[in-house]
Amino acid sequence: MPLLDFQDVSFINDGKTILKNLSFVVEAGDYISIIGPSGSGKSTLLRLCSHLISPTGGNIFYKGVNMNKYVPTELRKSIAYCSQLPYLFGNNVKENLDFPFSVRKMPFNEGRVKELFSLFNIPFTFLNADVQNLSGGEKQRISLVRTLLFLPEVLLLDEVTSALDAENTRMVLNAIFTLNRNGITILWITHNPEQSKKYANKILTLEAGEMKSLEVLK
């Protein structure tokens, strides 16, 4: 049974067709790069996967069950989404990292944070940093840490390395690839053609809201 199954999915907003008749499956353990021109509907596709929006036509099945049948909050814990513009809320970094714990009614786990900070090359002193004073790349990595404090089954990444330098990009790529080898399914939007081919086993190409191809690499 496929992990995610898109059956003739469309998304129309305000009379404008943003995604049209998408049908494809994502198998458990896939690492799919999603590419396509700006405005082709890539982010919209991931927002559908994270159930932040629902299709206006067709159905999405997760583990064989229509997404509409799941408890939304549980679904979103299992299918995590890291958005295109990293949004850090509140005043400091700690507030952001405590949020996933408080959602699960668990105490803050400093050890887990330390582990991820070192994985993404973030100095631990950033924990008490003011979110206003962070650079774009720092925000991006902290938002990744926030998403990964609890490991999901599916990880949706929307251009999460757009503000990172080559060194940090390589580090994030490796970290995500490690997660993939440990069984986490990855759907990753990227504008970088080289990056899209490096670890992915499939490449999904969107154009003007339609699926142009789903290429299997290995």
Partner: protein, 256 residues
């Protein structure tokens, strides 16, 4: 009441010439609000005259049932007006009515049971009028703030949702800001009482010949009761309405 003042009709008529000043300004400055000014003046006079007669009738009735019905009528009108500011929010009229009555009932109960005021029409009706109209203004401000915040802070809400949070923790920042915004006018006017404004009620009492010290006691009561009512009403309204910014799949709906 000692030395109470009365206004005779001639002086009231002379005072009405003040309206001509505003009409002249509107005309000479091409503000284009002459018609609106005339309408508002006529409405004010007609409404007040009718209310004057009704109040005189009801004060004479001294029927608690009738007083209560009148309060409900006032609360409904206030709810109707406040809900115009929350257009698009589902069940907004019901929510506003509920919020206004909760705030009013709680505050009035404290005032009545403590013996500060009696459940007599001539005390209850003017006091409730103040309470209800203040809640109405507070709710209008709350709704406006919530609608614009759910639009402008969409990313914040959706980020929290995608971290697996329920709709309340995802909206709590917006809810708190809306309650705060709803209360600010009341808090600000409490802060400047006596410095910037001698409030209407106190002015009225003093004009009617009550000693300023006595009038101040009433004003203090009024200030406290307005603070309590606006906070209760804003709280109830925001907590009842934030859900309507989401659909049953816990997805944020955007109002146009």
């Amino acid at each position: 009441m000692t030395g109470s003042v009365t206004i005779d009709s001639t002086s009231l008529l002379i005072a009405s010439s003040l309206v001509l000043v505003s009409l002249y300004l509107s005309y000479s400055q091409k503000l284009g609000i002459e018609k609106e000014t005339v309408v508002s003046v006529v409405r004010a006079v007609v409404q007040l005259v009718i209310v004057g007669y009704i109040l005189e009738y009801i004060f004479g009735l001294e029927s608690p049932l009738f007083t209560t019905l009148l309060l409900l009528f006032m609360a409904f009108n206030a709810a109707y007006n406040a809900s115009k500011r929350g257009k698009g929010i589902k069940k907004i009229l019901r929510i506003s009515f509920c919020a206004i009555t909760t705030g009013t009932v709680l505050t009035l109960s404290v005032l009545v049971f403590s013996g500060t005021i009696a459940y007599e029409p001539y005390q209850i009706i003017p006091v409730s009028g103040m309470i209800i109209s203040n809640s109405m203004v507070a709710l209008g401000v709350c709704y406006k703030q919530m609608i614009s915040d759910f639009k402008n802070r969409r990313e914040e809400v959706e980020t929290k949702l995608s971290l697996g949070a329920d709709i309340l923790p995802s909206s709590i920042g917006i809810i708190r800001d809306a309650i705060k915004t709803g209360m600010i006018p009341t808090i600000d006017s409490a802060k400047t009482l006596g410095i910037v404004s001698i409030p209407g009620m106190m002015t009225g009492l003093i004009l009617a010949g009550i000693s300023p010290m006595e009038a101040i006691k009433y004003q203090i009561m009024v200030t406290f009761m307005l603070l309590s009512t606006t906070s209760i009403s804003s709280y109830v309204a925001c907590y009842l309405s934030y859900r309507n910014f989401f659909n049953s799949r816990k997805q944020l709906i955007i109002f146009k």
